[in-house]
Amino acid sequence: MSAVLEKPETPHSAEPDCGRQLPDASVLEDRTPEWMRTTPTSALFMLLIGAVFILLANRVPLWHTDLWDHLNYGQNIIETRRISDTEPLLHLCRGVRMINIPWLAQVGMAAINNRFGLTGLQFSYGLLIAMCLAVIAWRSVRTSHSAIGGVIACAIFLKVNLNQLLVIRPQLVGVLFYCIVVAWIFGRKKHSKISWIAMPLLYALWANVHGSFSMGLMLMGLAGIGRFGDVLVISKSLRVALLDRELHRTILLTQLCAAAVLLNPFGFAIYPEVFNVAGNPNIGSMYEWDALTLRSAQGQSAVAAALLAFMAIKLSPRRMHCGEMLAFVLTGLLAMWSARMLNWWAPIAGIVIGTHLIASIRKTTAWLRNPLPGKPTGLWTVVNLGQVWILFALTSFGVQMIHGRVPKAEKMVSSETPLAAVAFLESAEKLPRGISFIPAEWAGYVMNRGPKSVEPMVNLHVHLIPEQVWSDYIRLVNGPSNWSSLMDEYGINMAVVDKNHQPELTKRIRESADWTAQYEDRQAVVYVRNKEI
């Protein structure tokens, strides 16, 4: 008989067995719902766009110009609980008809400011631009099948449009919605069920936040025309082109979106108002509405982008759809007409360059030829959520929400914001009555943070300012020889003058025996008339 002794059981060690292999996680079943899974590419973009977001939400100061005007209009709507059909803030604009298209954005901005303060505005600003980048990246990656294409598209958009993105204004929401429509026009499945619901809803919201809905409608129209052109060229049959179902659907969807725009407090009047603003004679004196010029950095960026785009399109094996080409060219021409229109060209330029550049390089670059799509997993979702939290926590707004630390206002606003001058006005026991000369760029801030009794001559909503008033204001800014009679004409008893930008006016008032400087710092002088009118 033989007996085989079993190996005695080794006693359980308190120490883990380092030599033992962990279970293979790769064989674990990903129980994350399908719709929640994200790709490694998304994590990459979350990181890149997040970096831009942090930079914008923490580093870009709140601009001293029309942001404050929008806050003032929004606050007025909140306080009065009505949207005035005439200009409600400026004495010299009483009775002037006002179709306040961005009323909802203004209310939102004022509400954020009231609830969270300036950090909330900065956070929203960064978030909106990050969302624009996300939409552009998403469309570019989908179209080019390359993360690099997405990165290029985002970079082009940012570089070309950076000047236009510096100010927090309702237009930013418009740019985001526009990017969505651009993504739609460059997509292949334009008429999914979700499009029929989401697009009209988008336009209904858009019409209440900014007048750029018209640009969106224009794009959709170009998509329809482009589709007609594409089919006509391929089929060489007018009948086939006219009976094309995608053309029909684009027309119908555009019509529904145009009808959805009417869901605003001003109804039909919103349509002519869009052209009214652009055609207002006062706009001519606003440099940001000037034609794009090569002398400016944004002009140089735009030309560089255009050249890159033409090169990429030429070398690319991809065919460019007629609608895409029309959108690219027409918005480009608009941008040449007015630099502010770069907002509507930059997203298209970004996607066109990102897509076609990758396609042209792919011909000669092996590793770009068969891109392996990253598999969507729950793990990347966790990574993305972690990034979101980190990004949030790194913002001033995040710090305020988590730690309760509110940064000082002077660290958040632009250096040209007249903080000290407004503090002086606030502390003054008695201020002269009547209209005050205040630079249009400062008027919004003064009205928002200064004493309520101060009534600026104008603000930056120049399309609402009576032509004569604006013309006189522009003359005053330049310090003409008849500055005194102009001041008399408007009964101006107080002038807050920007020393750096209005040196001639500063000099002339200083030399006058009728006025006395009551306050002066490095950027502003507050003059008061010795004998009030």
Partner: protein
């Protein structure tokens, strides 16, 4: 690319019609729900035409504001007659300046007839301003007409050349004060229109921030007060109210404004009177209080600034310091302007807005003496200024120059005879006058 019209997923006719129904219905409903003024604004914008006037002008004639006083101590019948004789409108018909006729018309009215053919009668003055054939008789066929017709309004040419009116809406104010009705004909070079069309155009092309608003405010108040209408929209679609007009008149320095800042005082006083005459519906209480405060300050300034001889100088707004600051070389005509215009608004002002009575008497005495000693040629050269003197003094007798003169000449049949007849060479004299008025 899938150009496949034969697909099963083709858009059905029902879908097409449904979307068209939604699309058309949405736009139709949106248009219907738009307030009337917004619809007007949209139409104006799309058609590139001015906003249509949203006031129905009904009253045939404008209302009037009567003088509150009949005081022979201020001016006797004889003194008034002597002054009025010197401001009878004896103008050469050649290249007759509208500004002269406007002043003469508001002073003498549109009905008066004179025995002396050198003197332009009321109907002749009215015809000169409202019939462009008559205007062309004076200025030649190649001259630009004074009245220019557009779709439904008449634009009065001003501030362009000598054949135009000098100030915006001055012609309208003169026609209004002269008692023309809305339905009186105006013969433009294009077609027959009416005074109504001048009023419509004036209300449309009025801009709150234009330099001279005095006559516009006066005209609008005289036409709209009887309608109890205190608000309308101008051609830009801007809502205009009499509160805004009053504030506009008070906005700038008192020394600014036409005729040394005195016309705006008259217009403000007129607003207050019309407001009272029409149940306080023209301006709000707050604005009324502001206007009264303004007029009170004017009263105080003229109380302190009158010269010992009774005249007010061009710098009356300097108050007590005015005499030391007066330009020693100041033309006498400036004092005629200031003193005549102040007496004019004071004739429609309540006593609480008057300076001490002796100042009014002194001012009237100075004016009467000045007119007496000033040559006819000099007065003709400064007709526009002196016409206010005549009008002001007549108002202090609670009458009008026309009514007084008509009565006066019945007892003085030779009162329209002059030692010298009107010569063609005189034509340039009145034409040189009133450049700044």
């Amino acid at each position: 690319m899938n150009p496949n019209p034969g697909s099963k997923k083709i858009v059905t006719l029902r879908t097409w019609l449904s979307v068209q129904l939604v699309f058309g219905g949405a736009f139709a409903a949106s248009w219907i729900l738009l307030p009337g003024t917004q619809q007007q604004a949209v139409i104006a914008h799309i058609s590139h035409k001015p906003f249509q006037l949203d006031v129905a002008l009904k009253s045939e004639k404008a209302t009037t504001v009567e003088s509150l006083y009949d005081q022979a101590e201020v001016v006797s019948d004889e003194e008034l007659a002597a002054v009025l004789k010197k401001i009878l409108p004896r103008f050469s018909r050649d290249h007759l300046r509208p500004n002269l006729v406007e002043h003469a018309l508001r002073t003498w009215g549109s009905d008066i007839e004179f025995a002396n053919p050198d003197i332009i009668s009321g109907p002749q003055m009215k015809a000169f301003l409202t019939d462009m054939a008559k205007f062309a008789d004076s200025w030649g066929k190649n001259a630009n007409p004074l009245m220019i017709a557009n779709d439904d309004g008449i634009h009065v040419r001003f501030a362009e050349d000598r054949s135009g009116s000098v100030h915006h809406d001055h012609t309208l104010a003169a026609l209004t004060e002269a008692g023309l009705s809305l339905d009186d004909s105006v013969f433009t070079t294009a077609r027959e229109m009416h005074v109504r069309n001048i009023v419509i155009e004036a209300m449309r092309d009025f801009r709150l921030d234009e330099r001279e608003t005095e006559w516009s405010v006066m005209s609008f108040a005289l036409w709209l007060a009887p309608l109890k209408t205190a608000t309308w929209h101008n051609g830009e679609g801007r809502r205009i109210t009499f509160d805004m007009l009053a504030e506009r008149l008070m906005r700038n320095h008192k020394r600014d404004g036409v005729c040394l800042g005195t016309h705006r005082v008259y217009s403000l006083m007129l607003l207050v009177r019309l407001n009272a005459q029409n149940g306080g519906q023209l301006i709000t209480r707050e604005t009324h209080a502001l206007v009264m405060e303004y007029l009170t300050s004017v009263r105080d300034l003229i109380s302190a600034s009158q010269r010992p001889d009774g005249a007010w100088t061009s710098n009356w707004t300097d108050g007590a310091g005015s005499q030391s600051k007066t330009d020693p070389g100041e033309p006498l005509s400036k004092r005629v302007i200031a003193t005549g215009h102040h007496l004019e608004w004071l004739s429609i002002a309540p006593v609480e807005l008057h300076p001490p009575r002796e100042l009014i008497l002194k001012a009237a005495d100075w004016l009467i003496a000045n007119v007496e000693k000033t040559s006819q040629d000099e007065i003709d050269s400064n007709y526009t200024f002196y016409s206010h003197v005549g009008k002001a003094l007549a108002m202090w007798r609670h009458t009008s120059p026309a009514a007084f003169w008509t009565q006066w000449r019945s007892g003085h049949p030779d009162c329209e005879k002059f030692e010298t007849s009107l010569k063609e060479s005189d034509a340039t004299q009145p034409a040189a006058s009133g450049a700044a008025h």
